[in-house]
Structures are given as C-alpha cells and as structure tokens.
Symmetry: C2
Subunit: 160 residues, 2 copies
C-alpha cells in the first residue's frame, strides 16, 4: 500500500470545505477533530498540492437571470490533435460555457452552456457555436428541470 495522498483527516477537511468554504479554521478544526494549528497546516498543504483548486460562491441561476441551461453535444471533423486543440481552446474561452468535456459516445464534446433565455441561445448557436473551428454537428439538449446541481464530490466513497 503506497502512502495515501489523502488520509481520513484530509478527507474530512475536504468534505467540510465542500459543504461550506467559509468555515473558519477554528470551526473546521473542531468539526474534523483537530486543533487549529495542524488543521490549518493541512488546508494550506491541500491548497498548495492543487487538491483544493478554488473556493466559489454557488449561485441560483434563475435568481441571477440565467434561467436557461443547455447541454450541447458537438461532433468535430476529425480527432487529431490540431483539430481537437483548436476547438477546445475556442470553446473554453466562451464565458457562457461553464463546462466542456471530451467524451466517448455519440458526441465528441459535451458542453454545458448557461444563458438568459432561448433567444440568447439562438444567437449563441448561430453566431458562435456553429462557427467554432471544425464543428460538424451540434445537438442541443435543453434543461427542463434541475434535480441536483453542483453537489459536493462523494469523498465518502473513497473509504477503503
């Protein structure tokens, strides 16, 4: 068994910060059963190691006027590096695209796009998405209802 990168305490710290990133170090330490000093040391290490990549406020999309979410499947011309890279960079640069993955299956890329309404999506589709490099086919899947979103990662499932 190689030295585990994350021990049980690290996982508890991460779980707590996923639930509430604004926990003070004192409260966090109490929650994970540690005193403040070593707790803060661990958090700093997790940040420096790139395990914690950011602390974000999660917003209600409807409340901020971004009521439309669309999952967009996109096929590109070919799969070679030059094509894929050009597409990737162009897609990632769009602020409306909040996630973009290369996936197996029907589509090559799966994008999650957030917009004000259908009219905004129509403009985006015509003016931007269809003009991305090497796009061959686009399939739009509109979100009708969000059952669960931006949930914390299931660190409990890692217990060995």
């Amino acid at each position: 068994m190689p030295t585990p990168v994350l021990d049980a305490l690290d996982r508890r710290i991460l779980a707590a910060l996923q639930r509430d990133a604004r926990l003070s170090n004192v409260d966090l330490a109490a929650e994970v059963g540690l005193s403040p000093s070593p707790c803060l040391r661990r958090v700093r290490l997790l940040e420096e190691a790139g395990v914690i990549t950011a602390y974000r406020a999660i917003l209600d999309r409807d409340a901020v006027g971004l009521g439309l979410t669309v999952f967009v499947g996109i096929k590109v011309d070919r799969h070679d590096d030059a094509h894929a890279t050009a597409f990737r960079e162009a897609a990632a640069a769009l602020p409306e695209v909040i996630s973009c993955h290369l996936v197996s299956g029907e589509s090559d890329f799966l994008l999650q796009i957030v917009l004000k309404d259908l009219a905004a999506y129509e403009r985006m589709l015509l003016d931007t998405l269809l003009k991305l490099p090497h796009v061959k086919d686009i399939r739009s899947n509109f979100v009708l209802n969000t059952v669960k979103s931006a949930a914390p990662l299931p660190l409990d499932q890692l217990a060995r």
Copy 2:
C-alpha cells in the same frame, strides 16, 4: 422597467465571490468599490434571498482519487409525475451523482456521475443505476478529458 433584482454592484459582488468565496468583506468591498458596511449588507441580502446558495471548495477530481466522470443519459418508462418524481428522488439521493437534470432530446435525464474508476462504474451501473425506478434505457458517456469545469456563471452577459 421593473426594479432590477440585481444591480451592477450586486453583480460585481457575485462575480468576485464566484472567483474567490473566501474574500474578506473588507477586500470584497474594496474590489467592488464600496465601503465595508453596505457591502456586507448586500452580501447578507443576497444570501437571504437565495441568490447565493452555498460557498464551496472546488477540488481536483484526480487528486482526490475520483478520476472517472461519466455523463449518463437515462430514459424512463413514462413522463407522468409519479414516475418522474420517483426516479428523481432516487437519483438525487446517490452521492456519486453530482448533477441530475431533466432534459429535452434523446434522453429524459442527464446525470453526471463521479467515481474512482471503471470498475466502480460497472458496479454502480449494475447494482444501482439499472435498478432505479422506471429506467428504460441507459447511455454512458465517459469523460476522456476535461477542458473546463465548474466555471463561474457568466454574469457579465447580463449587462443590459
């Protein structure tokens, strides 16, 4: 023009907190061009109004040992409320399911599932997903490469 729910200052506050949820109120105020008191008042109001729903630490999935992300399209038997609701609740209760949406198009539901590896997904598919209520068809799309993930919402796009 109805009273806008969010004015320009609110949007600047939200943008800053999406980028860094751990900003102190003093720093946040300086960044948005406000003094601390009104800035904190606005943040509290945004929290109470449900605009800010959570503050989360964002983790590197590979670094925590959750190297496999799968987008799973699921069709259910029928679309009536009883069926859809039963499915929804069962799916949302699974910790590995970090997002679940009712969508238009090919599938009825689109789930984002995070796991350790393919073996874990095989178990999940056989033991859990296929046994969810009213499931008719499952299509698994494996993430080969993550280009962009958990990006902040594009509040700039709301400027009228």
